[in-house]
Symmetry: C2
Subunit: 306 residues, 2 copies
């Protein structure tokens, strides 16, 4: 089967089984009861696997202030993925005009104006604004779960426009941050292996935009800053799909958000992030659409209490 065929087939099976429901745009789905039950179990397992980090918990809304977004330089690197929120700022006359355009099937959103908010592109961005200041000796760990928006409409159910990342972030020194990344990756790989997923770790890069982006991506790979855990979803001939990543950011966020280590140096940060929807869908792809028929060892890891 071609890759396109395999993608269409998985999508069809997920929809037919009610794991997902179509909402009318690519990469935007309703998530059904079976999906949600697996999601919650995977999430609990993940938190247990990293409980030793005694991480500070932070949760963030799917939107972030433009002022925060701008400190990450995201739109310079990933304009194609960016989402900005437009809002209505008019009165009765402007509303009448909007409704007139709409009645003529016009694009009334053109009458909206930027509202000072952006779609959050990464679960951990707002964390760096919260951390600020000086870290304790040894650095600190954080548990962050949030909704990410990336404008990359695709028929592939593994590529959503809005999805959740659960990240364990460390902020500290170069030594403590790289140690965090390098210890987290095999631990996460073991957890995913216990769920019956074949995973491999591979050097990776972010999808930087344009010609300059190619150089940035190549540097990121060359310096071995980012690794992904990939798993086969569409057969052995198709490229495997990344379901998790571990990233050393060097001083990128420390500099942008004014975070310092205990010695007063600019903090280094690293994160391990699990793509929650991708992981759940990889499990359905691997074990089938009916969770009651999943292999007993997998079920007992996900639901130890039945």
């Amino acid at each position: 089967m071609s890759l396109d065929g395999a993608v269409a087939d998985l999508r069809r099976r997920l929809l037919a089984a009610g794991v997902l429901a179509e909402l009318g745009e690519p990469g935007v789905f309703g998530l059904g009861g079976a999906f949600t039950r697996v999601f919650d179990a995977v999430d609990a397992l993940y938190v247990a696997a990293f409980a030793h980090l005694r991480a500070d918990v932070w949760r963030f809304p799917p939107v972030e202030p433009r002022s925060l977004f701008e400190r990450t330089d995201y739109v310079a690197s990933f304009p194609q993925l960016t989402g900005s929120i437009g809002v209505f700022a008019g009165g009765a006359a402007e509303h009448a005009e909007l409704l007139r355009v709409r009645a003529e099937d016009g694009r009334w959103e053109d009458l909206l104006v930027p509202g000072g908010l952006m779609m959050g592109p990464a679960a951990c961005h707002p964390l760096y604004a919260v951390i600020g200041g000086t870290l304790p000796v040894g650095g600190r760990n954080y548990d962050v779960l949030g909704s990410c928006f990336r404008h990359e409409p695709s028929p592939d159910p593994m590529r959503l426009q809005s999805f959740r990342m659960h990240e364990f972030v460390h902020a500290g020194t170069a030594a403590s941050a790289t140690a965090h990344r390098d210890e987290a990756l095999p631990r996460l790989a073991a957890m995913l292996g216990s769920l019956g997923l074949e995973v491999a770790d591979v050097p990776a890069n972010d999808p930087f935009f344009g010609r300059t982006g190619k150089i940035l991506a190549s540097n990121q790979r060359h310096q071995a800053l980012k690794f992904e855990l990939v798993t086969p979803v569409y057969g052995d001939d198709a490229p495997p799909v990344a379901i998790a990543s571990a990233n050393y950011h060097e001083d990128h966020f420390g500099t942008a958000f004014g975070i310092f280590d205990a010695e007063g140096g600019v903090a280094r940060t690293a994160c391990v992030g699990l793509g929650m929807e991708r992981t759940v869908l990889a499990l359905f792809a691997r074990h089938g659409m009916t969770t009651s028929e999943w292999p007993e060892p997998v079920r007992s890891v996900l639901w130890p209490h039945g």
Copy 2:
């Protein structure tokens, strides 16, 4: 203390205790570990209180397709709350132009174009698209949790621009839908009472826009379609704050989304919805910023296993 003073005081205490963290725009906060622990406990309690409904679980992303949004007529009634997502659709030249505008501190979001996605304004809207078709005899219940966006920036921490609603929705006949609403409200009030919140149910209306909106709001109240559970947060002299609502939609969504009851009539729908962030913050306002010091009866309801 004036209402403004009481609002500022609660906000200051929530931030000082790390229950919330400022992100840079009104109504957009980071939610800390204590907040999250209470959130999860309230959510579990709520699900247990409505377990008898055997509701189908659906979860939705914070964005929804424009085509779905348009079927609800939301922008006609609530333009002031609407959010539309703008995306970058250009190539290298347009990106260079965007970065030039940005370098001059210009509003580069003006160069984005509508991306076919809207911010979801209500957790249950996408559900109606999923239900479609004909319901079984007796109707059906649904458990929906989702992120809602409403553009109403405010210094009041009880009024977020992005928040989660957890809803139990019924679709069926007029009789079964109004029964759902009327049974759910006292049940939810009892649950909130067990957490030490004083709640009262009051007739309510949605914040319809403009002069025509005043008439719609008055009709909604007059026909007793919507009720809210309100609790005092800012003292006895200030208006109490709505933390939950129960709503009979008549045939509004049944007609818009082509949902029919078992007899072939247009389905009637009703929902009970708990404002998750508001409820959690009302608990902090009521019992203080340190959960270990909350009254023992409240703690044992939230965390029966300690």
